[in-house]
């Protein structure tokens, strides 16, 4: 058999192994969460806040953490998007010619992306101590938005970078300004990619435990203002799994299941809501 055919078959086997590894890992993760968490999952868990002694196995649920996580992840994703969109537009539209500056900004994002979120948490914590600020939803949102900022910015950047110059020119030729072109044409063309970026960021924000540990705090109550501490799902999972009681640990797995479901539901809803835009992409 000739060499090129052998190469081809080796590579095929590799591809199949990789594909199987990924699918099996995902299956195992979901399977173990379902297996261990499903029996403890109850309406009570998702509709009530912890009552006294919840962490000892008594009554209540983790509604505080569900609400806290969703608020925090939404807030952080939106804040990060508001900050990153202008930067991305700047390097891809206003400053398209200046490759040098754009590459420095991209490099900065890539480095920020690589910094572990515990470092952001510690950074936030230092600043909060310095100003004497207490842990709060707002502080959590600000710090988590820094964690997801490079994720959103680079993901949107990659999408906008691929848009052909001809589409920009088509809009400019009609007398549109760069801002009009960015908002009405480029953002629309990039909308499926922007949505993906937001969803990735949301997933990262809602799953992050390290950055919220020092900044958002933890509480058994649902916050009534952004200046109060909030509970988050990853920390709720951590605390429950850390107890010596098997029934509380099982609730920890159920919480992990809830976290996964929240991400799933939000992804599906977001895709459905924005399907309308996708269809106009050229």
């Amino acid at each position: 058999m000739d060499k090129r055919k052998i190469e081809e078959s080796i590579f095929k086997v590799l591809m199949i192994i990789s594909a199987i590894t990924i699918i099996v890992s995902l299956g195992l993760i979901l399977g173990s969460i379902l297996y261990k968490g499903l029996p403890s999952l109850s309406w009570e868990m998702i509709s009530q806040t912890p009552k006294g002694g919840y962490y000892l196995g008594k009554e209540g649920g983790i509604l505080n953490a569900i609400v806290g996580s969703v608020l925090l992840a939404f807030g952080a994703t939106i804040l990060a998007a508001i900050i990153s969109f202008p930067i991305v537009i700047f390097i891809n539209v206003y400053n398209r010619q200046n490759r040098w500056l754009a590459n420095i900004i991209r490099l900065t994002f890539d480095i920020l992306w690589g910094i572990p979120s515990i470092v952001y948490g510690a950074f936030g914590f230092t600043i909060m101590i310095f100003f004497g600020i207490k842990t709060s939803l707002l502080a959590g949102i600000v710090i988590v938005s820094l964690v997801v900022l490079p994720v959103i910015a680079r993901a949107i950047d990659e999408v906008i970078k691929m848009i052909p110059q001809g589409l920009f020119d088509a809009s400019y030729a009609l007398g549109a300004t760069r801002l009009e072109t960015s908002l009405k044409v480029i953002a629309r063309q990039a909308s499926p990619g922007i949505l993906t970026a937001l969803l990735i960021a949301f997933g990262r924000a809602i799953g992050d435990a390290a950055a919220v540990l020092f900044t958002a705090g933890y509480t058994d109550y649902i916050p009534t203002s952004i200046f109060q501490s909030v509970a988050t799902l990853p920390l709720a999972i951590f605390f429950q799994l850390g107890t010596p009681f098997p029934e509380v640990q099982a609730r920890g797995y159920a919480s992990a299941l809830i976290l996964t479901l929240v991400i799933l539901v939000i992804s599906i809803v977001a895709r459905l809501l924005t399907r309308k835009y996708k269809k106009f992409k050229i």
Binding site: Q97, F168, G175, T177, F280, I282
Partner: protein, 253 residues
């Protein structure tokens, strides 16, 4: 007005970095006629066309010197308003770029950014210019569908309608038929002939036969220099320059 010139180019030079691509261009584009810019590939036709609406400025590392006067106004004057200049010219590119929105919104986009808000008036504009580009009958029942779902030939006519909807005086085309099938190409050529009553049309082509069919006036460029320009008939039948003769005979291509 018939014979006066619409665009006047004076001592225009364009550099891409160190590369001097247009050299001392001095030409006049006549009013209400079809002008074709011809020449071998890479000679600077697209570059020259992009100078007319300053789209050249979005190219990396470009430098432009000289003047381009449109209706007597130098568009490279630092005080000139670029959006205002571009509004006066419709552009057809080599391959059509519909905007990522519906057919209706593609046409309404230009009028809207220039301040038209009235829904009834927008409806009228959309219908009028789709008719002007002979696309109305084909799309009138699906104005809300994505423009990207049209065929390439229809997309190019949509781009024409979109350009006309901002009420320009000039239509620019950069090999506007090169991505189209023969029938759609003829459609665009036919449109150009009809539209020259109201607009001055300048288009780039590498197809000499196309220039011969529809152009009134020819500009022949070679290696970034204007070799010859004049009425189509004169240039094709009696080229003065050796290079033009060679090009017309198909020796340079």
């Amino acid at each position: 007005m018939e014979q006066s010139s619409h665009i006047k180019v004076k001592d225009l030079n364009v550099y891409y970095g160190q590369n001097h691509v247009l050299k001392n261009i001095n030409i006049e584009i006549p009013n209400n006629q079809i002008t074709a810019i011809i020449g071998p590939s890479g000679c600077g036709k697209t570059t020259l066309l992009k100078c007319f609406n300053r789209l050249i400025e979005s190219v990396d590392g470009v430098r432009v010197t000289g003047e381009v006067l449109v209706g007597g106004e130098n568009i490279y004057d630092p005080k000139a308003e670029v959006t205002h200049i571009r509004k006066k010219m419709g552009l057809l590119s080599q391959r059509p770029f519909p905007l990522p929105m519906s057919i209706y919104d593609n046409i309404a986009y230009g009028p809207k950014i220039h301040g038209e808000r009235n829904k009834k008036e927008l409806d009228r504009i959309v219908e009028h210019y789709l008719k002007e580009a002979s696309l109305w009958e084909e799309v009138k029942d699906r104005l809300k569908t994505p423009a990207g779902s049209l065929s390439i030939g229809q997309q190019q006519r949509l781009c024409l309608a979109r350009g006309l909807a901002v009420e320009p005086d000039i239509i620019l085309g950069d090999e506007p038929t090169s991505a189209l099938d023969p029938q759609s190409s003829r459609h665009i050529e036919q449109k150009f002939i009809e539209l020259k009553e109201k607009y001055s049309i300048v288009f780039v082509t590498h197809i000499l036969r196309q220039a011969k069919r529809i152009a009134d006036y020819l500009i022949f460029i070679h290696m970034g220099e204007i070799i010859e320009c004049g009425p189509t008939k004169e240039i094709l039948e009696n080229p003065k320059e050796k290079k033009t003769q060679d090009y017309v005979l198909g020796i340079i291509s």
